[in-house]
Symmetry: C2
Subunit: 292 residues, 2 copies
């Protein structure tokens, strides 16, 4: 079976757009008017929940978001609830605990996070700042772990949250170590602007990536949140490939050591935090079986 | 749509048993020999991965575990990979990062965990022991978070892992606060034995549940792992219902304060840890909006 290749298809269920495929109510499980495959319809129902964290949705909501008839939605929601992918609560549906169980068996997701956790907690305890663990999914990063610092910078990350590669510290690390194709796709595409400091031209981004690859650390200043500096470093897997990135977000004003007048460029705290981030990334790499 | 009720169906895709539904290869997407619904087939493919953590499976493995023909498996795996539920790596498939994103929007799963995390980390730092956050799923608990103590008791928990209600500290808490139906189902069914200390008769279990409800804390000694004492307390949601349980696992030999000769029944450490667990559970309840 090794010769089977999966052909990319049109991303019908996953592009987040609402489709208006409504078929006659009561037409049964195989409505001829609905051009989606059965699998795509199941995924469309699940996608309805991906848009909003912690969402409880009614059958009508799900039907509208998934672009499916109420009849089809009702049938699929029933089966998904029975399996545990959805849970019913007060006539509303939400993502079920079975999905967490499934996520726990994801090598790149909760399993990576389980191995990395003790080191992330030490980094969090030592820095008292927001700590991230991220992996690349296409042209974005996905946060696998986030340890929030109660007094730290207010940032927008959450587990499962996605951000573009070019604008985040962990994203720059993962992009710098991605294949040529991925880099060219990002460099040739439009680069979304979040603040006046976001790197939005491909020339500057190319230089930044070379620097990240050379120094093994990315430092970005206010590219998504003004006043927040992100410091990130690569995590290697057993085969030496970069599988993840560890990052810390600190306030850009930093903390000046006693007796000094003004912080150096990049601030005091950032400079002292870089070795802690790099060390943590190396420790996690070793725990994953990497040999430096 | 409020009047729609979801009827329980036969749990075909979720009971973990292998079914030998093999249909003629090349029969296309709607094989007449396969009696499962299309949705059940999709879920059977996902279930193939739920059994083993971090599993990478070949198409043949998935086909065998799901009880589906290779043709059907190939087609569904292609669609699931395209959507991101599965990822392909060296001719093997594994659970994709998209499932983690979906799990992140689970109110009872990663969202609860996100709110509880700062308090769990404090409990972990204060006790230096294994810390758990669990929810009930049917007659079992599912761990939503586990903070591992490097020098702590070796325990078998992992995020997404399931255990019977009667044998775990968090399980006793959740069972004590579950409805009559759930309690009767557990009390009338066979109670699995893990060690010589596991509560396996319904009379003792009934007494234990009453005690847990009265004291707001469960203390179990070596019921799953010999030498491990579990201490757990209920977490309430905004509507006052018990939504989760926090637990700590400590060695049953405990630590005797200096100058004392022998620990009291239950050990020194357990006694000092009970208030910390109860406090943490109350703090998380408040963070969830509960009013005590």
């Amino acid at each position: 079976m090794g010769s089977v290749h999966v052909q990319p298809k049109e991303r019908s269920a996953s592009n987040g757009k609402r489709r208006d495929v409504h078929v006659a109510a009561g037409a049964g499980p195989r409505e001829s008017g609905d051009k989606q495959t059965a699998c795509a319809r199941v995924l469309a129902v699940l996608s309805a929940f991906a848009a909003t964290s912690g969402a409880s949705l009614s059958l009508t909501d799900i039907s509208r978001r998934a672009g499916l008839s109420l009849t089809t939605t009702h049938r699929l929601v029933g089966e998904l609830t029975e399996w545990g992918a959805l849970e019913r609560h007060d006539r509303q549906y939400r993502i079920g605990i079975r999905v967490l169980e499934l996520a726990a068996s994801s090598t790149r997701g909760l399993e990576l996070r389980e191995i990395a956790m003790p080191y992330l907690m030490d980094l969090h305890a030592a820095t008292k700042e927001n700590v991230h663990l991220a992996v690349r999914a296409g042209l974005e990063i996905v946060y696998v772990e986030r340890l929030h610092a109660p007094g730290g910078v207010e940032i927008l990350s959450r587990i499962g949250g996605r951000w573009p590669l070019h604008a985040t510290g962990t994203g720059l690390v993962l992009l710098a170590h991605a294949g040529y194709d991925v880099q060219e796709q990002v460099l040739s595409g439009p680069l979304q602007r979040f603040t006046s400091k976001t790197i939005c031209d491909s020339r500057t981004l190319r230089q930044a990536l070379a620097e990240v690859k050379r120094t093994r650390v990315a430092v970005t200043d206010g590219q998504i949140t003004p006043g927040a500096v992100a410091i990130a470093s690569p995590v290697h897997g057993a085969d030496g490939e970069v599988v993840s990135a560890v990052g810390v977000v600190v306030p850009s004003n930093g903390f000046a050591p006693r007796g000094t007048e003004r912080p150096p460029a990049g601030g005091w705290k950032q400079q002292t935090i870089v070795p802690a981030v790099v060390t943590t990334a190396r420790r996690i790499s070793r725990a994953l079986g990497a040999r430096h």
